[in-house]
Amino acid sequence: MMNVAATEMLCWNAASLLVAVEPEDPKCFAEGMRDLTCFWEEEGSRSPDDYAFTYMYQETNEESSKCALTAQSVGGSKTRYICRLPSVQHFVPLDVSVFQDGRLIYNRNLLIDHVFLLDPPANVTVTQTGEQEQLRVCWLPPALMDMENSMMYEVEYAPTGSHMGKRESVRARSEIILHSLQPDTRYNIRVRAKPDGLSYSGYWTAWAPWVSMTTPPAEMDLLILALCVVISLILILLSLTLLLSYRRFLLKKVWPVIPSPENKFDGLFSVYGGNFHEWLGVGNRGFWWSPTFLLVEESPSPLEVLSEAGFTAPVPVHPMPFKALGLSKKEVEEDERTGGQDSVLMGRRKGKAHPHWVLEQLQSLDQPSVPCCELHTLEPSDTYVSLNYRSQQDSGAMSPLADISEESLPLQVLFESPGTPTSFSDLESVTYSSGSGEISSQSSLEYPYGAWPLKGPSYISMTVTDSGISTDYSHMSWGTTGLGDLAMAYTNEYKNKVPAPRLPPHGHTVYSYY
């Protein structure tokens, strides 16, 4: 018959603990200072009367005592036999023997003060310490006499949800401060106890129930904050320095410069505002001579042209713009065809070229058709002023012109009557009467007209045209070249008046003809 007292059912969780830890049979443990419980488990369900449990303390000469056994069924097929000693003695070896049907099955020698299995620590409380990453754990030590100073504890803690728990041991004190915890994290903590092994020894108690507490949130360390600020400032400064030192490069990449042909065309944009025609008309580059008439007009200076022969009177020439002459291109062509001595056509010209204008004046003397101006036509017997490019030969700057044949030369005023001397100097003076100053340099006008090459009657007077665009006439081109030459010569004279010898006389009137 099995008698299972209620008191004997205590703490069988502890018993199962023992089964895992204690290899010897019977397993004995002391829950307090005055008890000892021994048990063993056997397959089957035999009556405890089949067994005999005897024990004897070493220092007594008495015979061994017997312990009353109780039985408990465990896990269906097993039976647990339990002996609870009525009184115990500590610090003295105890000899235990178990007999089954008179046969010794177990024997064990143990010290009762070495087999303590106590209750888990009670009243486990966890509080914040007021400092970062810390928690304080407190519990009650076992209320056994003489045990308070002989205990060691183990604390296990882990963040909620984590399975990686850490353990800390503590001796003789019933509290501990956990360090290096994660801030603002909920921790689960539990505690167990065990005699320290010096005076008393035993098994680990069962774990106390889990207790949770949250760690305080992290504070921004002032030092770390200051360091972060300093580092970010340094980085900003570095990036600014880099940007500034490479700003031109970066600007070029981000905002590429639109190429400008400014450097190839001197003054095109600055002086003439991008007006290509006008810029060409200045004669600076002279790639195309033709658009000279497109150039900005210059007010011509008044010029009085006098002729010694056939000129009835000095012909006052009123200054007027070229285009006021109103000569058309067509008229020019006509004149040329006629071989006209009388032709002077003033093409529409917007250019400057005072010499052009002069020549035109001269050559249009026999053309009364020009309404707006008082030109005097020149009779064939009249003397003409011939401005020959050859005069330019003296100046080296005219070397490109030297390539030009005489026939393609600029205007040539032929003397119809070589016999009629024309006072060149008069002409000169005429030409310069409007101006001031004297002629000093080489100019074609200085040539005695006898030296003027007479090309023959086939040569016509110069026609001033707006040629470049219109015509391919050799005459025209000749005319044009003559114009250029004339211009050059004329400008040369004018230039002579200028005290500063800036350019070579024909320097900036050099045309490159094509």
């Binding site: 303390y57 220092e59 500590h90 610090f91």
Partner: protein, 183 residues
């Protein structure tokens, strides 16, 4: 070891001074814990004792068993008796150790035995510091209390350890002199 020696020097110094005033109570449990630990080490060393570890004749040793039910009663009613019991037991042990030292040849064990002997002496000093009446060993070498007989050094030192762990420790930890201080 070092700590124990320092403690012994202190104790000897005090006792030799022969100051009439009572010794300052030594209530620190770590003092005795040190002695207990050394006694355990000696006991473990005796397990490997091969020569001369069997005693020719049995030696008397004190009883070590403590029944807490009885002890608590006796602690209240007869504290002096307990002190007497402890002191006589220590004396017996000292005698036994001295006797064993003669028969054991191993020098390593000799040092352990000497240490144990001096420890027992120090414990006596500690007990005296706790205002317990001084113990005068019996002239005839027998004690009134019950004794036990051991026939091997291993047993002897086992008893030695148990005695220190049990009765001596209880006496010291429950000494009235210390209890008054640790309120």
């Amino acid at each position: 070891m070092l700590q124990a020696k320092h403690l012994k020097i202190l104790l000897l110094a005090w006792t030799r001074l022969g100051l009439p005033s009572p010794l300052r109570p030594i209530c620190d449990p770590r003092v005795l814990d040190r002695f207990i630990k050394e006694a355990r080490d000696t006991e473990f060393a005796m397990r490997s004792c091969s020569e001369g570890c069997s005693l020719a004749e049995p030696l008397s040793v004190p009883l070590t068993s403590v029944d807490f039910a009885i002890w608590e009663k006796g602690d209240v009613s007869e504290p002096q008796k307990q002190a007497q019991e402890v002191q006589s037991g220590l004396w017996l042990l000292a005698q036994a150790i001295s006797a064993v030292r003669v028969s054991i040849t191993s020098t390593a064990l000799h040092s352990l035995l000497d240490n144990s002997h001096s420890n027992i002496h120090s414990i006596g000093q500690v007990i005296r510091s706790l205002n317990f009446p001084e113990y005068t060993p019996p002239a005839d070498g027998t004690v009134h209390e019950d004794t036990w007989r051991v026939s091997s050094t291993l047993e002897l030192f086992r008893v030695h350890t148990n005695f220190l762990r049990g009765k001596v420790r209880l006496l010291l930890s429950h000494a009235p002199a210390c209890r008054r201080d640790s309120t």
